[in-house]
């Protein structure tokens, strides 16, 4: 882990940064964002990609006459499931066990990594293949496996790219979204064999990755995956993907270990119908994703993995569940639509969030998973523009949860004397007093007008002190008006009632 906060883009992108700030406060978002905002190539790449995917998603969603009803169903099913999570998890465990799988319960990342490492070691192998999985990113699983001498090969193209680059993911769905074709070509030529004549055509890049990975699919004994959905009724696990690498991992190796956050359970097979419509259109703007794999327990020899393990992960999720308003963050199906429409994410990219869960959903999920004391800047990393809420296929009210969490951040700050005496806290306290009394408010207006006299140039205020200086770096400030509205209103009322003076309107 890095000892100092990143100051360059390379440091910010590096895997040295913890996947979740569980042990110490993360570098504050404004600082990390400043680094990213200065990266011209990143700004260009992100602007281009998000603009394209937004338009595509809007089109894919507009095709569905019952989209709003689907969203509501997606929300309602998850909401109900979360309220009875214990029941459905036990049902899932029983169904998986019945189907010949083994279920493991992991309270935190360390326990999950221990369980998985033990399983891999029991098969005497030095290699595992992996399907792109945010949950295993959250665990820092690849690093944990390396410590016991096991190498994890990422088989998703974008995941492979950042693995080869030694970087962290910057997007829920497209981990290498921050890189363009030219950058990927340069990386492949540096890291992969037989790539001297590689062009930057997407087809050529995919072919180079395929050649690199194919051998691993055939030789690996163990595959590790996440899970998009776990059906409690039948014990079936579902993975949706685009490249077919997942299908290879799920069918070729003899042992399959799937890691699933406990919030991914859904009650019945029928519920899957709702999410398999919502997810592809929201994430890749496709009517249907190219590969949907669903399996139940272990397979017969020669017909898929003969040994199946399901690791059910808490890692802070039950803490989120305890907050009856904030828990809607657990409804998330990881589609990434909120990232793609977010004007903040579009400009800063994902690394600035210092979490495997970036963007609007990350800004509400991360602080709840690790505590606001470790990620207190994230609820503020939003202008509350509401684009995320409109795009969310399961109607998570991200802006309202952000505001809810800001309340928790302030509450936490108030626990210390230095927090209570911070300039912002004092200003808010004073303004609170000002606004509860019309008399004090009027005095405040007059005082402002008096105080600003020496600051006005060209009709505007060009510099403000302290934290407010962030505003005046490139923006002028409008001064208190020479006559406030209430002063005008009084003057007008007086002139209306006094016949000696000319009426104003």
């Amino acid at each position: 882990m890095s000892r100092h906060a990143p100051t360059t883009r390379a440091e910010l992108m590096s895997r040295d940064v913890a996947p979740l700030p569980t042990n110490a406060p993360a570098q504050p978002f404004p600082e990390a964002a400043r680094i990213s905002l200065a990266d011209v190539q990143l700004r260009r790449n992100m602007g281009k990609v998000t603009t394209t995917i937004r338009a595509k998603r809007a089109k894919a969603v507009a095709e569905m006459p019952d989209w709003e009803a689907l969203r509501e169903a997606g929300r309602a099913i998850k909401d109900r499931t979360l309220r009875h999570l214990d029941h459905y998890l036990i049902q899932l465990e029983q169904a998986v066990t019945r189907a010949g799988g083994k279920v493991h319960w992991a309270a935190d990342a360390a326990e999950a990594n221990r369980i998985i490492a033990g399983l891999v070691q029991s098969h005497q192998t030095k290699e595992v293949v992996k399907i792109k999985s945010l949950t295993t990113d959250e665990l820092g699983l690849n690093e944990a496996l390396r410590e016991i001498g096991v190498e994890a090969f990422e088989t998703d193209l974008a995941e492979l790219i950042i693995q080869l680059a030694g970087e962290r993911s910057s997007h829920i769905l497209v981990p290498a979204i921050h890189k363009n074709r030219a950058e990927i070509r340069a990386l492949f030529r540096r890291r992969l064999a037989d790539t001297e004549n590689l062009t930057d055509e997407p087809k050529a890049l995919a072919a180079a990755a395929r050649a690199h990975l194919r051998k691993k699919f055939l030789s690996a004994k163990v595959a590790i995956s996440g899970a998009n959905f776990g059906v409690a009724e039948t014990g079936s696990i579902c993975i949706v993907e685009s490249e077919g690498n997942g299908r290879m991992c799920l069918t070729l190796p003899r042992v399959l270990i799937s890691v699933m956050g406990i919030e991914k359970v859904i009650p019945s097979w029928r519920d899957l119908e709702v999410y398999l419509q919502l997810l592809p259109r929201s994430s890749t703007a496709e009517r249907m994703n190219p590969y949907t794999s669903i399996w139940t327990g272990a397979s017969a020899p020669g017909d898929g993995p003969e040994e199946f393990h399901l690791v059910l992960l808490d890692n802070g999720r039950t803490k989120v569940l305890a907050d009856s308003f904030g828990r809607q963050a657990l409804q998330c199906i990881r589609c990434s639509a909120c990232l793609n429409v977010c004007p903040v994410y579009e400009r800063t990219g994902g690394h600035a969030y210092n979490s495997v869960y970036p963007g609007p959903i990350g800004a509400i999920l991360t602080p709840q998973l690790v505590g606001v004391h470790n990620a207190g800047s994230l609820p503020y990393a939003s202008s509350l523009c509401g684009a995320c809420y409109d795009a969310c296929p399961v109607k998570i009210n991200i802006p309202q949860v952000l505001v809810h969490l800001r309340g928790k951040v302030v509450e936490h700050k108030r626990e210390s004397l230095s927090g209570r005496l911070a300039p912002e806290a004092l200003a808010m306290k004073t303004l609170g007093k000002v606004f509860t009394s019309p008399k004090r408010f009027e005095r405040f207006q007059k005082l402002g007008r008096l105080g600003q006299r020496l600051k006005i140039h060209n009709g505007m205020i060009e510099s403000l002190p302290g934290q407010l200086g962030g505003w005046t770096a490139v923006r002028d400030v409008y001064p208190v008006a020479p006559e406030t509205f209430r002063e005008w209103w009084l003057r007008r009322s007086e002139s209306k009632t006094s016949p000696n003076r000319e009426g104003q309107s």
């Binding site: 404004p30 202008s383 523009c385 684009a387 002028d476």
Partner: protein, 247 residues
């Protein structure tokens, strides 16, 4: 009709011309406007920044001031959005059932100006004349919190002399976001740069919106750049007439 103007603390102090314009438009349409001098702030800044205990007295104050008004009209989609979206939640969290009832009773009477005109009063042509090239920026809270729809555009399309040009990427946030613009100044500036580039590309003289807070942000940047483009609240466009010019 008798209407009570909820001007907002912000407009009262910094943009009184918007308040005067609302009065001019509503009086021109034959309505009686009152301004309750006890009004202060809806509490949005405190609430959205996380100072939620401080917001509660302001919510109570708002209910006390406007409780008896038949129609409350405001030229701020953002502050009306605060009342519609967050007041019920604040009341519920306070555990005060009286406050919950008072707010449920109050909310249907609180209108943003353009929705009052178009949806409630059925007026689109208010007799305005504004011979300028202008572009309309739909602010986030008008678009996605309050959902004013095309009410502002319906009003603007009926303004004589107005050359209304489309704003590219109109529905994207300008980067204001209240205290966001200070706490995350760099990101906010990056968003503003793109917004203002789009505005300048239209060749408009004026950028119109239904929230002076966003216009203060956009205008503060344009003024610093000496861009020669002015922000203007939609009420002030509607108040302008052939005889009187801008009030």
């Amino acid at each position: 009709m008798r209407m009570s103007l909820f001007l907002t603390c912000f407009n009262d102090t910094l943009f009184p011309s918007t308040g005067r314009a609302v009065v001019a438009v509503l009086e021109r349409l034959g309505h009686r406007v009152e301004f309750l001098m006890d009004q202060t702030c809806c509490g949005q800044m405190h609430y959205n920044t996380g100072y939620q205990p401080e917001a509660l007295p302001l919510v109570r104050h708002f209910v006390r001031v406007f409780g008896d008004s038949e129609i409350i009209v405001s030229p701020s989609a953002s502050c009306v959005g605060m009342v519609h979206d967050f007041y019920p939640k604040i009341a519920a969290e306070s555990g005060d059932e009286g406050l919950q009832r008072a707010i449920a009773d109050l909310i249907p009477r609180v209108f943003e100006l353009t929705t009052l005109l178009v949806n409630k009063l059925g007026v689109e042509d208010v007799g305005a004349y504004f011979p300028h090239r202008a572009t309309y920026h739909p602010t986030c809270h008008s678009l996605r919190a309050l959902r004013v729809g095309d009410a502002p555009m319906r009003l603007l399309r009926k303004v004589r002399g107005l050359d209304l040009v489309d704003l590219p990427s109109a529905d994207e946030c300008c980067g204001f976001g209240g205290t966001f613009s200070v706490k995350n100044a760099d990101t906010s500036i990056a968003m503003l740069s793109d917004k203002n580039r789009c505005i300048l590309d239209t060749g408009a003289e004026y950028c119109v919106a239904v929230d002076n807070s966003c216009l203060m942000h956009i205008g503060g940047g344009l003024h610093r750049q000496r861009a020669g483009v002015e922000p203007i609240h939609l009420a002030e466009v509607l108040a302008a007439t052939e005889e009187g010019g801008r009030p």
